[in-house]
């Protein structure tokens, strides 16, 4: 898929266009080769200038690029023997989440991935990565099979949020998410989550309770999207860049807040520039973490997961100001 550019990437796009045009000329003389070399250097400079210093909102935009590798791409690249399973055994099969069994570097696993598409037809099939209650229930059913058969769970998170629709509400979106979160605390197998793109709110945590959570360098994870936050707190979605800043939603922020264990580096400019490197980086980090988790006993796995989330929060024990009475 061709690479798309946002406004802030204009200098990169221009440098790339110039280079492409020069390369298209069928010339072999030395002057031309020098010209190409010069243009290549300019492109590299532009890329370093733009991508070496991304703002939080620019990372959000990169995380949303349609050509960015999606969950199904990571599953294809990183696993073998993949066998998809379908349906929540109650209502329907939600295609926004891909569930199945697979081998990951020699280990039989269950994989769960929130899918996004690249064009209209795919987008509609995957509902833009927004799951319905039956999606959360399908994921839970699959994860319970993992727990039953002692298989580690690999989760790929990439969602702009749980689907906010009438039927989703009627079928109990809140119940589906809440139940998933609670049940994920009962599992005695390793749960390894990777935020590969967007980690929006309840839609993400609804499959995101892990012993370890990895996050790609340009992924974001927050209680609300920057646009949602801006339209509420600034009363104008145009303030999304400011909201992205305030929400502390980058991988670096989440590492510092001890919400994620590791940042997985991406190729300069984003995973889509060099998907194979992105797959290898995530695969290696997953393998390293999984190897450690597999050393824990079933009870230790459950307890470690509990302890990790039990410890989250920031407050003061303010004895002077407690309510009198």
């Amino acid at each position: 898929m061709a690479i798309s550019y946002y406004e802030f990437e204009k200098p990169v796009q221009q440098a790339q266009d110039k280079l492409d045009k020069a390369l298209a000329k069928d010339r072999q003389d030395e002057k031309h080769l020098r010209e190409i070399q010069k243009l290549e250097t300019e492109l590299e400079q532009a890329r370093h200038e733009i991508y070496g210093n991304l703002t939080p909102f620019q990372r959000v935009l990169i995380a949303r690029k349609p050509e960015r590798p999606h969950a199904q791409d990571y599953i294809k690249a990183l696993t073998t023997e993949f066998q998809e399973i379908h349906g929540d055994r109650g209502y329907a099969d939600d295609k926004a989440v891909l569930c199945g069994f697979a081998q990951f570097r020699g280990v039989s696993c269950v994989v769960i991935g929130q899918c996004k598409g690249r064009e209209v037809k795919e987008n509609l099939k995957y509902n833009f990565g927004m799951m319905h209650p039956e999606g959360y229930r399908k994921a839970l059913r699959t994860m319970k099979l993992a727990d039953k058969f002692g298989l580690p769970v690999l989760v790929f998170i990439d969602t702009p949020g749980a689907y906010p629709g009438v039927q989703a509400e009627e079928r109990g979106q809140f119940e589906a998410i809440a139940r998933n979160i609670r049940e994920m605390f009962t599992f005695t197998v390793p749960v390894l989550c990777s935020v590969i793109g967007e980690g929006a709110s309840g839609g993400a945590i609804g499959i995101g309770v892990g012993n370890v959570v990895l996050m790609l360098e340009n992924a974001w994870y927050s209680v609300i999207s920057p646009e949602g936050c801006a339209s509420i707190l600034w009363r104008d979605a145009q303030f999304a860049p400011q909201a992205a800043e305030a929400l502390k939603l980058t991988a670096q922020d989440l590492l510092e807040l001890k919400i994620v264990e590791e940042i997985v580096p991406e190729p300069l400019g984003g995973a889509h520039y060099d998907p194979d490197t992105a797959y290898a980086n995530l695969g290696d980090a997953m393998q390293r973490q999984l190897t450690q988790l597999l050393k824990l006993s079933p009870d230790e796995l459950r307890e470690q997961r509990f302890a990790k989330y039990r410890a989250v929060g920031e407050w003061e024990e303010n004895l002077a100001e407690q309510t009198k009475g």
């Binding site: 809440a178 009962t186 024990e317």
Partner: protein, 315 residues
């Protein structure tokens, strides 16, 4: 409904805000049908409109008075105070909003917890307060719900939560989101220990709180016509571009779809809770074979820091 879209609530409680155009008088206006109601009648009716039956919002402290046997409520963890870890600033600084909430409610955050008796039956209680930053759940709310559940585990008593919330608190971003996980983790512990959890939903109970502990009660009770749901109305309307069905996301609607057990008038809530406490716990054969039902086993769950602070408070 997001917390910032609150309906006007004309409370008679000290400390509550009163719009300047409403005189401090004998009457108040029903927020729903706009009838003028004799204030005393409104209060005696537990802030339920005698004309249209609208259940007006009540503060956590009013709720305690309505639910708990007089003189039996012992508050705990009232010293937990929010901090602006992310130094969040939108149009206003979060630290400033905390200050304002404090002045407005006389509380440090949007929740009051403790133990109390309902018709003589002891329960651990966590009661949310919509008046403080829209009842949003940040670290303090999440921690107090968690500790209320830990106390229930340690003392082997049921736990009751009453929610009044627009969801997770944006100004604590990911830390708020993780409170959904933390409180739900304790629900899993309650399951394992066989301790009952009753979730009471009042207006509104939505978003991140509804998609975590509030939806995980063994029994879920909602007040009539209160708003219960995950996504906000506006967001849904923008997404589906269609008119929302009548009564969408009301307690009755959610019960009709199978996600709430009991829709219960405020006047009857106390009796229903007492009955459930009895059925699920105090009269249950399982609990009776459980020894005196008061063992402190499991108290190692509450952190050393907490215990130290509690001791300091007791002295």
């Amino acid at each position: 409904m997001p917390w910032f879209e609150k309906k006007p609530k004309f409370s008679s409680l000290p400390g509550a805000v009163r719009p300047s155009n409403v005189p401090e008088g004998l009457y108040e206006k029903c927020p729903d049908c706009y009838s003028m109601i004799y204030r005393k009648e409104f209060e005696e009716n537990l802030h339920v409109c005698p004309k249209c039956h609208y259940h007006a919002r009540v503060s956590a402290r009013e709720r305690i008075v309505m639910l708990v046997d007089p003189g039996t409520f012992q508050e705990d963890n009232s010293h937990l105070s929010p901090v602006d870890k992310l130094q969040f600033e939108a149009k206003k600084k979060y630290s400033k909003q905390i200050e304002e909430g404090r002045k407005k409610t006389g509380q440090l955050d949007a929740i009051v917890s403790g133990i109390g008796k309902i018709h003589g039956k002891t329960a651990s209680l966590a009661i949310m307060d919509f008046t403080f930053l829209g009842g949003s759940m940040g670290s303090v709310v999440g921690e107090k719900v968690t500790r209320a559940m830990e106390r229930a585990l340690a003392e082997r008593i049921p736990v009751i939560t009453v929610t009044a919330t627009g969801g997770a608190r944006m100004m604590e971003s990911i830390l708020s989101l993780m409170q959904m996980a933390k409180t739900s983790a304790l629900c899993a512990e309650l399951d394992r220990a066989g301790i009952p959890f009753i979730s009471v939903l009042s207006d509104p109970s939505t978003a991140g709180v509804m998609a975590s502990f509030a939806a995980l009660g063994d029994v879920i009770i909602a007040e009539p016509r209160c708003l219960v749901g995950f996504a906000g109305r506006r967001v849904i309307e923008q997404t589906v571009r269609e008119h929302l069905p009548k009564g969408f996301q009301t307690a009755e609607f959610v019960q009709e779809h199978g996600f709430v057990d009991i829709v219960c008038e405020r006047r009857e809530l106390r009796g229903v809770l007492a009955r459930l406490l009895n059925h699920l716990w105090y009269a249950s054969p399982k609990r009776k074979s459980d020894g005196n039902g008061r063992s402190r086993a499991g108290s190692e769950r509450s952190s050393k820091k907490t215990q130290a602070v509690e001791q300091a408070v007791a002295q």
